[in-house]
Amino acid sequence: MTDEEIIKLFFDRSESAIERVREQYGSLCASVAGRILPDKRDVEECVGDTWLNAWNAIPPERPNSLKAYLARITRNLALDRYTYNTAEKRSTALTDAYEELEEFVGSRSDEIEQYEDRQELSQVLNDFLRAQSRTSRVIFVRRYFYGESMREIAPALNISEAKVKSSLFRTRTRMRETLLEANITI
């Protein structure tokens, strides 16, 4: 079933819409949440909440890509839940990826305490991402904002793992330069 057909089910308020997205995107959403949350019960609830939130949002929303839309909702829900569960601080794929980036970008990690304007971080980061090629950007986002491994990214984009690795290295280097120019250390 195509995204358009599933979205039509949502617009028709047909309960089968949820079954269809669960069949088609359940694995994806569980995977997105599973890279962020260490507890499988949280992952389970996160995925369930994704369907409920999609049901509440469509209509009026009509996503261009249902897959991307659901992945974004799941990631947001998982990050919300991670915030509340920080006491456990157990490692996940996303925290591992972040630590890789944190270590590379700067050793003066405490300096973010001096960073006063989170809007500026957002602007600099997004301007930087916008300036990258689409492939470099997608690789970077999948690695550091979804926590996907190089082994997972490569087949998804039909490129070699070596290319993923070199692209990540170059993008991290450019990001470091950009953040340093903006006087931001993460």
Binding site: I18, E19, K40, A57, E61, R72, L79, I112, L125, R134
Partner: protein, 332 residues
């Protein structure tokens, strides 16, 4: 790893890039090339779906991932979660639900989720404004707005034993308040102005016996307001107490005290240091005239201001600030 930095970093990225990363590439002009690329992408995607459970990290291994998926199936194998309902049915669920005077075009709905008691929803209009009003029995504060803004600002604060959040974004604005006494999360959303929503929410909460304003007992002419100031949401309560007009504001701020009072420091002849609960405070005042006290609570990252329009003194400013300030993380 610093969790706060981790979350901040992940919240900083634009949602368009988050979606783009999971979206297939746009079609190209060569039809044959499209077919080949689409086939490759399908194989890759299917491959990922099939292989993912076995290729995850040790702590989210194959069995765990499969179990997660199986359990999510159990959770989501639900019939249509939205059912038409009535005010009587909603009240029978244990919600002290009511609509404000003047509400028109009411609809009532029950939304089944993962909780034991479903969420109750009403939609209604007042004048030209359309509102969605929700309630959910839950053990902690949560966002039940159902609105997924891709660009939003929000502020949280406490009033009495209630936790509140106001969110202003591109797909709508909402106010949420959690009443721990009956473990109920409430939310009012609309595409209307944030200030109008806050005022309507304030009336709704008051009808239920909950005062979401931060005015002290005995205050008069209490008004609430919300607005955007330098890209951040400011929640404001103004009131008159014992003949003096006060304006109390709070807004999110990262690591620094920001003066959100919109008063000019040049207007004040005196300055002083003070304390509001455990927070260091800065005072500026004209003895017996206007004055302000500013403080910053680093744990939730909230900055506060309280302005007295007359009768100001360091003692009066500190006393009122300590009366109305409810730390977001409790009294510790």
């Amino acid at each position: 790893m610093n969790v706060q930095k981790f979350i901040r970093f992940h919240r900083a990225v634009d949602p368009e890039f988050i979606e783009e990363a999971q979206r297939p590439r746009a079609k190209r002009s060569y039809i044959g090339y499209i077919g080949v690329m689409a086939a490759c992408l399908c194989v890759a995607v299917v491959g990922i779906y099939l292989l993912r459970p076995g290729t995850g990290k040790a702590d989210t291994g194959g069995d765990a991932a499969r179990n997660t998926e199986e359990q999510s199936v159990a959770v989501t194998m639900t019939p249509n979660p939205i059912q038409s309902s009535s005010l009587v049915e909603i009240r029978n669920l244990g919600y002290k639900f009511d609509l404000p005077a003047g509400a028109k075009d009411e609809t009532f709905t029950i939304i089944n989720g993962t909780g034991a008691i479903p969420m109750a929803q009403a939609t209604f209009s007042i004048g030209s404004s359309d509102y969605t009003y929700r309630a959910l029995k839950t053990e902690s504060f949560q966002d039940i707005s159902g609105i997924y803004n891709t660009d939003e600002e929000n502020v949280t604060w406490n009033a009495g034993d209630m936790q509140l959040q106001m969110c202003s974004g591109n797909y709508g604005n909402w106010v949420g308040w959690y009443v721990s006494e009956d473990q109920t999360q409430w939310c009012l959303s609309s595409e209307d102005d944030a200030s109008d929503i806050l005022q309507t929410a304030s009336k709704l909460a008051l009808d239920l016996g909950h005062d979401i304003t931060t005015a002290p007992a005995g205050a008069e002419d209490v008004t609430v307001n919300a607005f955007n100031r330098d890209g951040a949401v400011v929640a404001e309560t103004a009131y008159t107490f014992e003949g003096v007009r006060y304006v109390y504001r709070t807004s999110p701020s990262d690591f620094v005290l920001v003066d959100i009072s919109d008063t000019d420091d040049g207007e004040f002849a005196n300055t002083a240091e003070g304390k509001v609960a455990y927070c260091d405070a800065k005072l500026a005042y004209n003895e017996g005239g206007q004055g302000k006290i500013l403080w910053f609570d680093i744990v939730p990252g909230l900055t506060y201001s309280l302005v007295m329009e007359s009768d100001a003194s360091p003692e009066a400013l500190e006393e009122m600030a300590n009366t109305i300030f409810v730390p977001a993380q409790g009294d510790s």
